[in-house]
């Protein structure tokens, strides 16, 4: 009997997992997960720059001006989706956009930028994803807004859309200004 019940039990376990997934998404609503970092200082990091691997950028180097940290990877299809949005945002000059190249091959990342355009003021590389743990990054794309004093103001999980920029990011920027 157990043998014949097994498929059903496996399915029930699967259904519970999927149900939890749906409810997590529902609670998340606009995908803006409350991050423990919100309102707190950004974590310390020191990561190399994509085009100049010997140059290392740390948290202190970015202080003084707010910036948008956009986590992406050349392997990530959803990053392609949000790329025009990031590009528009960077072109508008409202905010400095820093690319965070996550778990990626440097060559692939460079090719990707050559292909779709490079909107980033600077691209830092986290090849093994270790620094990402401190940021609480669990995938790409994700986007953080960090103010001039190095505080994390806003976080978004998933591809940015024009609506999200309009309804969430721009009010945050206005608050900063």
């Amino acid at each position: 009997m157990i043998k014949r019940l097994l498929p059903l039990l496996v399915f029930i376990a699967l259904a519970v997992l999927l149900g939890a997934g749906v409810l997590m998404n529902a609670g998340r609503d606009t995908k803006a997960i409350p991050s423990p970092l919100l309102g707190k200082p950004a974590p310390d990091f020191a990561l190399p720059v994509l085009d100049e691997p010997e140059r290392v950028v740390s948290k202190a180097d970015l202080l003084g001006q707010p910036y948008l940290l956009n986590v992406w990877g050349s392997w990530c299809p959803a990053c392609r989706d949000e790329h025009p949005v990031i590009t528009d945002l960077a072109r508008s000059g409202r905010i400095r956009v820093i690319g965070y190249d996550y778990k990626d091959e440097a060559d692939e990342a460079r090719r990707w930028l050559a292909q779709f355009g490079n909107p980033y003021a600077l691209v830092i590389v986290d090849a093994d994803g270790r620094a990402a743990l401190d940021w609480g990054i669990y995938g790409a794309p994700e986007t953080f807004l960090v103010d001039a004093g190095g505080m994390v103001r806003w976080k978004f999980v998933g591809p940015l859309t024009p609506e999200v920029v309009q309804e969430q990011l721009l009010p945050q920027l206005e608050a900063l200004e």
Binding site: R110, G129, L133
Partner: protein
């Protein structure tokens, strides 16, 4: 007025589906012939109602009725006419309607081509299909109505997703859905057999042709989707292990296992419970795929609709359909194996191994697809599952499968001396190794991977040829070739071609990124790519830069290529239209990057991809094999009630 009529017709379809789901089934359970006889007419009526509804939505697109919200969101007045037809299924609501349309077609086809079925069986099968239709119709009507009006009417629409404005998109979703939904028929036969309590070989014989056709359509759909991603995403890859691709690949793998286990059950009576379970699993995974794509549980390029309400609805539906059928299975599945016994070396054993490997691959993909979700739910930390995981594990599971392919057909049912197929295959193994060694040393730019590709392909092709040769020599007993054997051989040749394509392409492709000023040339694998410059032009609903690249080899011009970079008028989405020059032995592929400065220079991405066409050719052969099998005369012979297994 017309959109309201479409909605009314959809509501009517729900009523008809409810009747179909209950009345014939009750007739079969209580032995009322009159109730059972309603199954056929109800199936036809359901089809008509759904066709009317689908036709009216299409008309709203063609006539550009922007007072319908769905039309306003997914098309605009600049959209060319042929894309207005495909825009119908370019987003959530319409693609569900397409699902229902195809389900209604399958249901009507079962009703039409089922003269040899006893009335209670037909009544149960159509009833189960009716239940599936009820679920989807309710889903559309209560959460995703495509006919919702927009007040006030929009003056202009938004646009169809530019990624989908492509000829490949005309055929990809219908083919894929035809495959997905087709598994509903095998599922319905399995559930009907469980309800009936007669799980002998008969239900399997009836459902085999349907399973084959569904699987063949799914193969075509996946192959076309892969080809579309290859040239439309501008990235040169043909498979990304994206959750949505995985969602279509899992039912395909289980469907392939089902084809083989159905053959065993039908001919030998073995694997009865297993075949039932696979029939349930194939359709369950199709539904799960729909859930993953539609619920937004897993983010992906394809997941264009995410809405928790919809997610919960589909989940509840999944729970009823899959949970219900598995509970039925737990209660009713045959106790103990009743088929003919078989020895450790026999065709049954080889097919069992095939089933185990395909199921393990499915489980592996399911785990990898859901792992991020699991890790998030259990707060296990952040581990990403990407192509390396899938690529490695899939290869580990497929190597033994490729090794075993030739053994199944060459072994006898029930008992075989391992020496016999080995003797037949030894010369082919030798030839395959020889070819691989030659490839290792002599293949232009080849690597070890190239040699393995040749080895695997030659082995499978050789083993299949040996089978063909054995049949040709077989004298008196029975027909030399049944359609079933021809189809099987074609599909196995397809595997050989596919294996060769994957490994040759992966090992010998080359790509290069260049900064090209007008007039400069670049050399890649003996091909000279000369960039002649780019010009700006205005398309129907986009603006574009169109490059011109002349490709020559040894001074002789081969082709002129025009990659494009398009900015769509609405939404401002930028699309890369890669230029392709395809031939069987190599594809030349050029994609435009960014303009580099004011002087007309561009970043270009150049590829030479040898033998990549074999990947899709292999898929075509497999699909063709699936179709050919259904012409086997055994499926047309009417079966008496008492025919033994």
């Amino acid at each position: 007025m017309l959109p309201e009529l479409g909605l009314a017709s959809l509501a009517l379809a729900l009523m008809l589906a409810l009747a179909l789901a209950s009345l014939p089934l009750a007739g079969a359970q209580f032995g009322r012939p009159l109730w059972m006889a309603t199954a056929r007419p109800l199936a036809y009526a359901l089809l008509i109602a759904v066709v009317v509804s689908y036709g009216l939505l299409t008309w709203a697109f063609v006539a550009q009725d922007f007072s319908v919200e769905y039309v306003a969101r997914n098309s605009n007045s600049l959209l060319p006419l042929h894309y207005r037809f495909t825009a119908v299924w370019s987003a959530h609501e319409g693609s569900l309607l397409l699902w229902i349309l195809i389900l209604a077609f399958w249901t009507a086809l079962v009703a039409r081509f089922s003269r040899s079925l006893p009335a209670p069986v037909l009544a149960r099968v159509l009833s189960v299909l009716g239940k599936v239709a009820v679920g989807f119709l309710a889903f559309i009507l209560f959460t995703s109505n495509p006919f919702t009006r927009l007040l006030p009417e929009a003056a202009e629409g938004h646009d169809m997703n530019p990624l989908l404005q492509d000829p490949g998109m005309i055929f990809h979703p219908p083919l894929l859905y035809t495959g997905y939904v087709g598994f509903a028929v095998a599922f319905a036969f399995a559930v009907a057999a469980l309800l009936d309590g007669r799980m002998d070989a008969r239900w399997v014989r009836w459902s085999r042709p349907w399973t084959n056709v569904a699987w063949a359509f799914l193969t075509l759909g996946i192959a076309l989707g892969s080809f579309w991603a290859y040239y439309e995403l501008g990235w040169g890859g043909w498979w990304f292990w994206d959750p949505v691709e995985n969602a279509s690949f899992m039912p395909w793998l289980v469907g392939a296992a089902l084809l083989h286990s159905q053959a065993v059950t039908e001919k030998r009576g073995s694997f009865r419970g297993w075949t039932l379970l696979l029939a349930i699993a194939a359709f369950s995974l199709s539904l799960l795929g729909t859930f993953l794509v539609r619920s937004g549980v897993i983010t992906s390029v394809h997941a264009f609709a995410s809405d928790p309400g919809r997610g919960l609805f589909i989940l509840a539906f999944l729970g009823i359909v899959i949970g219900g059928s598995l509970a039925l299975y737990a209660l009713r599945a045959p106790r103990g194996e009743t088929g003919k016994p078989f020895a450790p070396v026999s065709r049954e054993t080889f097919l069992l191994l095939n089933n185990l490997l395909l199921s393990a691959a499915t489980a592996m993909i399911l785990l990898g697809t859901l792992y991020p979700l699991l890790a998030e739910a259990l707060d296990l930390g952040k581990i990403s599952v990407g192509p390396p995981y899938f690529g490695l594990l899939f290869t580990i599971l497929m190597v033994p499968l490729v090794l075993l392919v030739p053994f199944g057909p060459l072994s006898r049912w029930q008992r075989e001396q391992l020496g016999q197929p080995l003797r037949w295959l030894a010369p082919w193994a030798g030839l395959a190794v020889l070819a691989a060694v030659l490839a290792w040393f002599a293949w232009p730019n080849g690597t070890g991977k190239t040699a393995f590709g040749i080895l695997g392909a030659a082995w499978v092709a050789g083993g299949t040829l040996r089978f063909v040769w054995n049949r040709l020599r077989s004298g008196s007993r029975g027909p030399r070739f049944t359609a079933e054997m021809v189809g099987m051989s074609l599909a196995h040749f397809g595997i050989a071609v596919f294996v060769a394509g994957v490994l040759l392409t992966e090992s010998t492709s080359i790509e290069r990124d260049v900064a090209a000023a007008p007039g400069t040339s670049f050399e890649l694998r003996g091909y000279t790519f000369e960039f002649r410059g780019a010009e700006h032009y205005q398309g129907p609903n986009y603006q574009a830069d169109r490059g011109t690249i002349v490709v020559s080899r040894d001074g002789r011009p081969i082709t002129t290529m025009h990659p494009e970079k398009r900015a769509y008028a609405s939404g401002g989405q930028v699309m890369t239209e890669a230029a392709l020059d395809g031939a069987l032995h190599r594809d030349l592929y050029v994609a435009m990057g960014e303009p580099l400065d004011g002087s007309g220079s561009w970043a270009l991405r150049l590829y030479v991809k040898p033998w990549i066409r074999l990947i899709w050719l292999g898929g075509l052969l497999m699909a063709l094999g699936g179709f050919v099998v259904t012409f086997d005369r055994r499926f047309r012979r009417p079966l008496g009630e008492g025919t033994p297994a």
